[in-house]
C-alpha cells in the first residue's frame, strides 16, 4: 500500500532526479541513507593540531598511489646485470636487476624520478607526521578512555611504518641501503641460540644471497601496507565512532562536540588539505633530491661510504647500536653477543615505553569515565614531563645515530659524542622530566594568578602617594571557565589497614606502589590547585584592583 502511494506521489512530480535515483538504488542494497544520516553532517571541532593526523593519512595515500606506479617498472631481482643505461659513470658496472631497474626509473622513465622522489619524501613525511600526531595525542591526554585501543592502533601504524620504510629503502640494492641490510643481518645473528638460523632463513643462505630483495619486496608492497591499510581504516572508524575530542571552552562539555559539519566544511577543508599535502610533497620532490642511488652505486659487501645513515625514523636504533659498549660473553663454545643483542632488545622497549603509558596512567588515576575534553599539557604536569623525557630519550639516541655527522659538522670528537650519548641515555630523560615538571607547575601558577588577579594589561598607574602599580584586568567568564574547566585528581589513599570487621588486612605492594605514584602525580607539590569560586569571590570583592 505504501509503495503504491509513493509511486503516486512520484508520478505527480515526474521522475526523481538522476542522482537521487542512483542513491535510491545504492540505498536499497547498501543502506547508504542510514549511514549518511549519522555521518554526513557529523560535527568536527577545529584546532590546528587536529590536522597532524590528516597529514599522515594523506601521505599514506600518496605513498600507495606512487608505490603502485613504481611497481610497474621495478624488478625485484638480484640477478647480476651489466649497466648500459644513459648514466655514464656507472656504464659497464655489474649490479643487481633491482638497482638497474631503479636506475631505469630515475633516468629513462619520464617522470619516474619524480614519482620515486615523491614516494620517498612522502614516506619521511608520513613517519614524521605520525610521530608528531602521536605526541599531540599524548600531551593532550586524547588517549584516555574510550580511545586507548585507537592509541594502540596508531602506535602499531607507527611501528609498521618504520619497517615498511626500512624494507622499502632497501629495495634498490644500493651501497647505502645494502649496508643497512648488512647491519640488520648482524643484529639478527646476535640473537642467542636461533640467530644464525634466522639469518639463513631470512636471506636464503649466507648474506647477501640472492633472495632478500624479492622477499623484502613482497613484505614492502603487500604484507605490511595491507596490515597498515586495515589498521588505518579501523583507526578512522573509531575516530568517527568516538567523535573527535575538543579543548575546553565556552559551550564545550564532555557530552557534546562543538564544531562544523563534515558536509560541506570539512569535506572541503580536509579534502582540500589532501591536495595541499600532495602539492607540497610534489614541489619538494621537484627541487630536493632524495636517495640519489646513482651517486651511491650498487651494493658490494666489501665497500662502504662514510656518513652512512638510515632514514631518520630508524636513527634512534642506529644510535643504540653505535653507543653500546662491545660486550661479548664466551662460554661453553658459545657467544652471547650482548653488544648487539641488548640494543636489539632496547629498540622495541623504547617504543613500548610510550605505548603502554596510557594504561599506567589510567591505573594510577583509577578513572573509569570517558574523557572527551583535552588537557592542556601544563595541567597534567607528570604526564607532560614523562612525554618530554621520552622525546629527550629518543632525541639523544638520534644524536647517537648521527654521531659521525655531529663530529664532522661541529668539529667534535666522535669519542666524546659517544660518551655523551652513553651518559645522556640515562641522565637526560631524568633532567628533562624534572625541568618540564617545574615549567608546567610554573604555568599552572601563572594561570592561577591570572584567574584571581586578572590579566596584566601593561598599563602602569601611579597612585596619589607615589606607588606605581600595574593595572590588572579581570578575565571574562569565558576565559575564567576555560582556565578552570580541567579536573584535578586527589592522590589515591591506601585504604585502612583493618577491614570492616577489624581484621588486619594485608596491604599489597601493588596498592603501595599505586598510592606512591598517585602522590607523585596529584599531591599538592605536584600540581597547583586551581582557585575555587570562594577564593575568586573573596579576592575580587575584597580589594578590587590589585
Amino acid at each position: 500500500m505504501s509503495t503504491a502511494s509513493t509511486t503516486d506521489a512520484r508520478d505527480k512530480r515526474g521522475k526523481a532526479p538522476a542522482g537521487e535515483r542512483v542513491a535510491d538504488w545504492a540505498d536499497g542494497r547498501l543502506g547508504i541513507y542510514s549511514l549518511a544520516k549519522a555521518n554526513m553532517r557529523k560535527i568536527f571541532p577545529d584546532h590546528w593540531s587536529f590536522m597532524l593526523g590528516e597529514v599522515c593519512m594523506y601521505s599514506f595515500i600518496i605513498i600507495i598511489l606512487t608505490g603502485v606506479y613504481l611497481t610497474l617498472f621495478f624488478h625485484p631481482s638480484m640477478n647480476e646485470v651489466e649497466y648500459h643505461g644513459p648514466y655514464v659513470p656507472l656504464q659497464g658496472q655489474l649490479m643487481s636487476e633491482a638497482f638497474n631497474s631503479t636506475m631505469h626509473i630515475s633516468f629513462e622513465v619520464r617522470g619516474g624520478l619524480l614519482i620515486r622522489q615523491i614516494h620517498h619524501w612522502a614516506a619521511l613525511v608520513f613517519l614524521a607526521g605520525m610521530f608528531v600526531h602521536m605526541m599531540r595525542v599524548f600531551f593532550t591526554g586524547a588517549f584516555r578512555k574510550p580511545r586507548e585501543v585507537n592509541w594502540l592502533f596508531g602506535f602499531l601504524l607507527f611501528v609498521l611504518g618504520m619497517f615498511t620504510g626500512f624494507t622499502g629503502y632497501s629495495l634498490p640494492d644500493d651501497l647505502l641501503s645494502g649496508t643497512g641490510v648488512r647491519f640488520m643481518e648482524g643484529a639478527v645473528l646476535s640473537v642467542p641460540i636461533v640467530g644464525t638460523y634466522l639469518s639463513f632463513f631470512l636471506f636464503g643462505g649466507e648474506f647477501p644471497g640472492g633472495d632478500f630483495v624479492a622477499r623484502f619486496y613482497s613484505v614492502h608492497i603487500l604484507l605490511l601496507p595491507g596490515i597498515m591499510l586495515g589498521l588505518m581504516v579501523a583507526h578512522l572508524i573509531l575516530v568517527f565512532y568516538h567523535k573527535h575530542t575538543q579543548f575546553a571552552g565556552p559551550g564545550k562539555t564532555n557530552n557534546n562536540v562543538v564544531g562544523m559539519p563534515l558536509l560541506p566544511v570539512y569535506m572541503a577543508k580536509a579534502g582540500g588539505f589532501f591536495f595541499l599535502v600532495f602539492g607540497v610533497i610534489a614541489i619538494i620532490s621537484a627541487i630536493a633530491t632524495i636517495n640519489p642511488i646513482w651517486t651511491i652505486g650498487p651494493y658490494r659487501p666489501d665497500q662502504v661510504s662514510t656518513g652512512a645513515q638510515p632514514d631518520w625514523y630508524m636513527g634512534f636504533s642506529e644510535g643504540l647500536i653505535r653507543v653500546m659498549p662491545g660486550w661479548e660473553i664466551n662460554f661453553w663454545g658459545h657467544t652471547l653477543v650482548l653488544g648487539v643483542f641488548i640494543p636489539l632488545v632496547i629498540f622495541p622497549l623504547v617504543l613500548v615505553a610510550i605505548a603502554v603509558y596510557p594504561f599506567i596512567e589510567s591505573w594510577v588515576t583509577g578513572d573509569k569515565r570517558e574523557h572527551h575534553i583535552l588537557d592542556r599539557p601544563r595541567n597534567a604536569p607528570t604526564r607532560t614531563a614523562f612525554g618530554v623525557a621520552w622525546i629527550t630519550w629518543y632525541m639523544v639516541l638520534l644524536i647517537g645515530g648521527g654521531n659521525d655527522l655531529w663530529a664532522t659538522h661541529f668539529h667534535l670528537s666522535i669519542n666524546a659524542i659517544t660518551w655523551f650519548v652513553r651518559i645522556a641515555f640515562f641522565v637526560a630523560p631524568v633532567v628533562a622530566f624534572i625541568i618540564t615538571k617545574r615549567i608546567c607547575l610554573g604555568l599552572q601558577r601563572r594561570d592561577r594568578d591570572k584567574i584571581l588577579h586578572g590579566r596584566e594589561t601593561g598599563i602602569i598607574k601611579r597612585l596619589p602617594h607615589g606607588e606605581f602599580i600595574e593595572v590588572h584586568e579581570p578575565l571574562s567568564q569565558e576565559q575564567l571557565h576555560t582556565l578552570t574547566a580541567h579536573e584535578q585528581y586527589k592522590p589515591a589513599e591506601i585504604g585502612p589497614a583493618v577491614d570492616e570487621n577489624g581484621v588486619a588486612r594485608k596491604i599489597t605492594r601493588r596498592e603501595k606502589l599505586r598510592a606512591k605514584l598517585s602522590k607523585g602525580y596529584y599531591s599538592e607539590d605536584n600540581q597547583i590547585l586551581k582557585p575555587t569560586v570562594e577564593e575568586y569571590k573573596e579576592i575580587t570583592s575584597g580589594h578590587g584592583h590589585h
Partner: protein
C-alpha cells in the same frame, strides 16, 4: 576595502560590550560555562562584494590548477628526459623532474588552496554542537547480549561435551604447524658455513683494484690495500656471498712498531692481512690512520689497532679483527698460509 563601504543594513547589531570589557554573567559561579559565544560574522557574510571577491579567488586558484596540469603535459612531451638545467639556488638538476614536479605540485596545491579558501570564507562557519552518547551499552543491552551468548553457548553444548571442545582446540592449535613447517625451505641450515672463507693454504692475495697478485714490494709502509683471494671473479654467481667474508685489508707497519708478537709472526716483514669485515655487525672497514695504525669502521665507529692484533680500542665491536696468516710463496707473491683461524664478521651464538 574599509568597513565604511558596507551597506548599513548589512552591519551586525552593535555589541553591548566593547571587546575586553568584563562582565561576569553568572554571579553565583563565575567559573561556570557561559555557553557557546555568539557567532561573529565574517566580512563575506555581510558584504556580497567581499563574497564575490572570495569566489573569484577560489575560481582563480582552480584555473591555475588547470593551467598547471596543461603545463605538466606540455613539459612531459617537450622536455627531453636527459636535459639538465641550472636552477638557483639548487644547482644543476634534471629539467624534466623540475618541470613536472613544480607543475604537478602547483596543480595539486591550487586545488587544495581553493577548496580551503572556499570553506573558510564562503561556507557557513557557525559552530554547532552535537551530542555525545556513551560508548558503553546500557545495562539492558548488556544483559540481553549476555543472555543471548549464554543461550548460544548452551545450545552448542560446548561446555557440556568436553571431548568435542578439547579435540577442537587441539586441532585448531595444531593446524598452523603446517605453515611453520613450510617455512623450513626459506634457507639452508647454517652448518659451519660462517666459519669458513675462500682463503686456504697457497691462495694468492690479489689486489682488489688491479686484479693483480700482490708482491711484498707492492705494499708500501703506511699504505692500505684491499685484497681478495685469487680465483674470485666479479662475474661469479656467488661473488657477493664470498666477498662478504673474504675481503682483506693489507697494511705494512714497521716491524718495530708492531706491538703484538703474534701479529708480527702471522705477517710477512710487517705486512699484515686483516679481515675487512667489522666484527660488530659486518660493515666493511675502510678508514685507516697510518700514523696510529688504527682503522675505523665508518658505520658505527668501532676502532681497531692493527699494530696490536686488531684489538678493539673504541666503539661497539666486541672482539678483535681476525688476522690471516700470510707468507711469500716460491714465485714471490703474497699468499695465505691457511683459512682464517676464527670466523670473520659479526659474532653469533655458535661462534664460541
Amino acid at each position: 576595502m574599509s568597513s565604511q563601504d558596507i551597506p548599513e543594513e548589512n552591519l551586525p547589531a552593535e555589541q553591548g560590550d566593547a571587546h575586553g570589557a568584563v562582565k561576569v554573567a553568572d554571579e553565583e559561579n563565575p567559573f561556570s560555562d557561559p555557553g557557546l559565544p555568539p557567532h561573529e560574522h565574517r566580512i563575506q557574510d555581510i558584504d556580497e562584494r567581499a563574497a564575490k571577491r572570495s569566489e573569484r579567488t577560489v575560481a582563480l586558484l582552480f584555473t591555475v590548477s588547470m593551467l598547471s596540469t596543461i603545463a605538466f603535459i606540455a613539459s612531459y612531451v617537450a622536455i627531453p628526459v636527459d636535459k639538465a638545467i641550472y636552477v638557483w639556488p639548487i644547482g644543476h638538476i634534471s629539467a624534466l623532474n623540475f618541470a613536472l614536479g613544480v607543475t604537478l605540485g602547483l596543480a595539486l596545491f591550487c586545488i587544495g588552496a581553493g577548496a580551503v579558501h572556499w570553506a573558510r570564507t564562503l561556507m557557513s562557519d557557525v559552530e554547532v554542537a552535537d551530542e555525545r552518547h556513551p560508548i558503553e551499552a546500557s545495562p539492558e543491552v548488556k544483559a540481553k547480549v549476555l543472555a543471548d551468548f549464554k543461550q548460544g553457548a548452551k545450545e552448542s553444548a560446548i561446555g557440556r561435551r568436553k571431548l568435542i571442545r578439547n579435540t577442537m582446540l587441539g586441532a585448531v592449535a595444531m593446524v598452523p604447524l603446517s605453515g611453520v613447517v613450510l617455512l623450513r625451505d626459506l634457507g639452508p641450515l647454517p652448518g659451519t658455513k660462517l666459519r669458513h672463507t675462500t682463503w686456504a693454504k697457497g691462495k694468492k692475495l690479489v689486489n682488489m683494484n688491479t686484479g693483480e697478485p700482490l708482491r711484498p714490494a707492492d705494499v708500501a709502509v703506511g699504505s692500505l690495500t684491499f685484497a681478495m683471494p685469487d680465483g674470485l671473479s666479479e662475474e661469479d654467481h656467488d661473488f657477493q656471498k664470498n666477498i662478504a667474508k673474504d675481503a682483506l685489508m693489507i697494511v705494512r707497519i714497521q716491524p718495530d712498531n708492531i706491538k703484538s708478537k703474534k701479529s708480527l709472526e702471522w705477517g710477512h716483514e710487517g705486512i699484515l692481512a686483516y679481515s675487512k669485515i667489522c666484527t660488530h655487525v659486518g660493515c666493511p672497514i675502510s678508514l685507516y690512520e697510518q700514523q696510529t695504525h688504527h682503522v675505523l669502521c665508518p658505520c658505527h665507529q668501532s676502532t681497531f689497532d692493527l699494530a696490536d692484533a686488531g684489538q678493539v680500542i673504541f666503539g661497539p665491536a666486541g672482539h678483535a679483527l681476525p688476522q690471516l696468516r700470510i707468507t711469500v710463496g716460491e714465485d714471490g707473491y703474497l699468499e695465505a698460509l691457511s683459512d682464517f683461524e676464527e670466523p670473520v664478521g659479526p659474532a653469533f651464538w655458535e661462534r664460541g
